[in-house]
């Protein structure tokens, strides 16, 4: 097996990929937390709207539509948080793909 030295550019790129993956994972966790909070807030607001008697309408469909209208700020927040979480996840997956590729190349090099 061949071990690369610290000055080896390939070794450096693996280290960079590891650091980028760690950063992407931290960013994804923050985005997921924001998504989770936004999701909980939407549900909590819906419950408050219903129990507070703010949702009115002649039938279930009208009440449902009115509820959606009332919680629009929270729904918009959840939409934004969902998009941000998906983007953060994509960045993380890209970083993981790059790291896996480099490690695969390293393994091939090590065998040769």
């Amino acid at each position: 097996m061949v071990f690369h030295t610290m000055n080896d550019p390939f070794h450096e790129s693996i280290e960079n990929a590891v650091a980028q993956t760690a950063n992407a994972r931290t960013a994804w966790l923050a985005a997921w937390e924001a998504y989770f909070i936004a999701s909980s807030e939407l549900e909590r607001t819906k419950v408050d709207m219903i129990t507070g008697g703010y949702v009115v309408g002649k039938n279930a469909e009208e009440r449902s539509a009115n509820l959606d209208k009332l919680v629009e700020p929270q729904a918009a927040g959840l939409r934004d948080a969902t998009i941000a979480e998906r983007r953060a996840r994509m960045v993380l997956e890209n970083a993981e793909d790059r790291l896996r590729s480099l490690l695969a190349i390293a393994a091939v090099r090590a065998r040769s």
Binding site: I37, T51, G52, G53, V56, L70, E72, P73, Q74
Partner: protein, 302 residues
């Protein structure tokens, strides 16, 4: 002609808070009154809608200039008025319904009570019976350094817009909580009084029979992408607001807005209803004589 006039009165009733103070339900907290656009207010700051606080005794916080405001029916009040107000939202009532009718015992007297559900005119036990929904926001005004509780009520067509404003403030409070988490690592409950909310008025729309009566809904006068750090309340204010919230929870626990105790609203109540534990029944309010005036929570002039 009479029908048209009645329709107009009914439209005003449905859409408006533009009623003289004596027919609005008096409460233990000083009131911030929301105004729809109205020809009654030509030449004033609230010509196109806005907010006002009665100020006959010159003790109202300075939210805007003092002006004489004419109400439906011809009476006038001296009020501090503004198109926008800035406040911390301490809490809000549930949605309630207010029924108004002529007192069968004395038809010159108008009765106004909170009822648990919508009532048709036929169900209301007096002449000229009307019912509309309402919601009350309890706020601490930025212009009032004493940080007292004020009640800001919205009626009829403005209720849903008011609740949407509340939900926008809730979203802003969540952003504030996230900001605190990012800055200090502390996780805080996203109380709505974490931020100063600036609330103005939207564009008027016409409602009612033949769509002749304008309503001017409340709107949050802050951009969605505002830097939340610029509108957060100070630590001292936050601690005061937590106490106000406790005070408010006790007040709301009396069931004032549930309509279950036949709470009469026709005469002034100078003091807040006594705080009761959840489950206790509120004692009947003496409605023949208003309670003695308190220094702190009095509707001036009432």
């Amino acid at each position: 002609m009479q029908t048209q006039e009645q329709n107009q009165i009914y439209d005003d009733f449905l859409c408006g808070n533009d009623l003289p103070e004596h027919v609005l339900d008096p409460v233990g907290f000083r009131r911030v009154q929301h105004f729809n656009e109205s020809p009654y207010h030509r030449g004033t700051v609230i010509e196109l809608g806005g907010y006002g606080i009665r100020d006959e005794d010159e003790t109202a916080p300075d939210i805007g200039p003092r002006q004489s405001i004419k109400h439906l029916g011809g009476r006038s009040s001296i009020m501090r008025v503004a198109r926008e107000i800035e406040f911390a939202l301490i809490g809000l009532s549930q949605r309630y319904f207010v029924a108004e009718y002529d007192d069968p015992a004395d038809e010159s007297r108008r009765v106004s009570i909170v009822v648990p559900r919508f009532m048709t005119p036929e169900e209301i036990p007096g002449k000229r019976g009307k019912c509309r929904s309402g919601v009350s926001l309890f706020v601490a005004l930025k212009a009032d350094p004493k940080r007292k509780l004020y009640e800001l009520s919205f009626r009829g067509f403005n209720v849903e817009d008011a609740v949407t404003v509340v939900n926008r403030i809730r979203k802003l409070a969540n952003s504030a909580a996230a900001h605190i988490m990012a800055e200090s690592g502390k996780r805080v409950v996203p109380h709505t009084f974490l931020v100063w909310a600036r609330v103005g008025i939207g564009e008027s729309r016409l409602v009612g029979k033949k769509e002749q009566s304008p309503v001017t809904p409340p709107r949050l006068a802050m951009p969605d992408d505002i830097n939340v750090a610029t509108v957060m309340v100070s630590g001292d204010d936050f601690r005061k607001f937590v106490d106000l919230r406790k005070e408010l929870d006790e007040y709301l626990a009396t069931g004032r807005y549930s309509g279950l105790h036949g709470q009469a609203l026709a005469l002034p109540v100078s003091e807040p209803a006594p705080a009761l534990r959840s489950g206790e029944i509120a004692p009947a309010q003496p409605i023949s004589e208003p309670a003695p005036a308190s220094d702190e929570q009095v509707i001036p002039g009432s």
